[in-house]
């Protein structure tokens, strides 16, 4: 881009938000910023909207970093934002997508947790909401969605890293996304970006039964994983959340699928080097580059299979 922003580094929240503003300023015809709510600690929740015009077009939703410590996801989202903006007009596949659909990208889904992971505890995963009667802070925001809430694979202990919270949507970070998706009314794909162990998953996590679109989503995910692998050979495992990683209730893509958004997927980006989410900064851009190929493969399928 025109500015000197370093996409190959990890940044504090303020720098990410500034980079989002810079992108909007650089591509005002394509990119805009919308605030969809405020975190528990009153930080704004911003989505970038990529749109070439038209009212209430079908849309693709992407969020990153709901688990605060998975820094490569927020970094990948920011890189992806610039990729979408800079490739529009040059990439026929992206052009045809954006000529019919909008893309919404929540770069930092859990800003309180992200700040806390930068300033206090690098291993922080949850929100920062307070639980009455407990000394422990925070809810796992990916156990807080209204999808088998409180079931297997979530904890009712406020001190646990997978605490599901007092009720579904109790976390304002989750509720804000739910409200946005519902009020939009025309979201056709919901993609959540995490990082750990290279997985591409689809519903369900709260139950180990197959969804009715299992065959199609499995096929889409395999195509996306192959596209991703083609760049650097990074191997992805593909399948439903329950069998690919573990049973987990209250997850975002289970909610989106049950809400009627057929194309619901979750990425777990690479941790080559066995560092978990402590991925060396030198791997941010390669991770983002390969992920982009996977995302584009999903975009193309969604674009070509309206429902």
């Amino acid at each position: 881009g025109r500015n000197s922003f370093n996409y190959g580094a990890y940044h504090p929240l303020e720098t990410i938000y500034q980079a989002m503003d810079d992108l909007v300023a650089e591509y005002p015809q394509l990119v805009s910023k919308q605030q969809i709510g405020e975190s528990y600690e009153k930080r704004p929740l911003y989505v970038l909207k990529f749109s070439t015009g038209g009212k209430n077009r079908p849309a693709i939703w992407i969020d990153a970093g709901i688990h605060a410590r998975e820094w490569v996801t927020q970094a990948t989202a920011l890189w992806t934002a610039r990729k979408i903006a800079s490739d529009y007009g040059y990439d026929p596949s992206l052009d045809s997508l954006l000529n019919t659909m909008d893309v919404f990208l929540l770069v930092v889904a859990n800003p309180d947790g992200y700040v806390f992971s930068h300033t206090e505890n690098r291993m922080w995963r949850k929100t920062r909401s307070k639980t009455p009667g407990s000394l422990c802070v925070g809810v796992d925001p990916n156990r807080n969605w209204d999808a088998g809430f409180g079931g297997p694979g979530a904890s009712n202990d406020p001190c646990s890293d997978s605490y599901h919270g007092p009720s579904a949507n109790s976390e304002v970070e989750v509720r804000s996304v739910v409200d946005f998706i519902k009020s939009h009314g025309n979201v056709k794909a919901f993609i959540s970006i995490h990082s750990y162990s290279q997985l591409l998953m689809y519903p369900y996590g709260y139950t180990c039964t197959n969804i009715k679109d299992h065959a199609e989503l499995d096929n889409v995910a395999k195509m996306a994983a192959n596209a991703l692998t083609s760049l650097y050979g990074t191997q992805y495992k593909v399948g439903p959340i329950c069998s690919v990683i573990y049973q987990a209730s209250g997850g975002s893509i289970d909610w989106s699928y049950d809400y009627g958004i057929k194309y619901s997927f979750a990425f777990e980006l690479r941790d080559t080097g066995r560092h978990g989410f402590l991925l060396p900064a030198s791997q941010i851009i390669p991770t983002a580059q390969e992920t982009w190929l996977g995302l584009k493969s999903i975009f193309e399928h969604v674009r070509d299979h309206p429902y």
Partner: protein
């Protein structure tokens, strides 16, 4: 600012349902302050757990006494965090 000097991340590989259940019980032990990076789920699926230095011996003894296979994924978490911090400082200076 929380530090993790001497903390290790163990990759634990339960080979049957009984071992999975043992890991789930271990996870519920609050005094051990375990931070599961990947939760125990099914036999032959790895679980990754960050163990505070003070509890390393207890956890390793527990795993070994139940013949649960494990390896050390990260030798010293603080060293990894320090390296990351160095990279960020370097990158910030580079930008300026």
């Amino acid at each position: 600012l929380e530090t993790f000097a001497g903390d290790q991340v163990l990759r634990v590989e339960p080979c049957n349902e009984e071992q999975v259940q043992l890991l789930k019980r271990l996870r519920a032990q609050q005094p051990l302050q375990l931070n599961f990076w990947r939760f125990p789920s099914f036999p032959n699926e790895p679980a990754d757990v960050q163990v505070p230095f003070a509890n390393l011996q207890n956890v390793k003894v527990f795993l070994e006494s139940h013949q649960i296979k494990y390896s050390i994924m990260i030798e010293d978490v603080q060293a990894a965090v320090d390296e990351e911090r160095r990279e960020m400082d370097l990158n910030q200076r580079r930008e300026r």
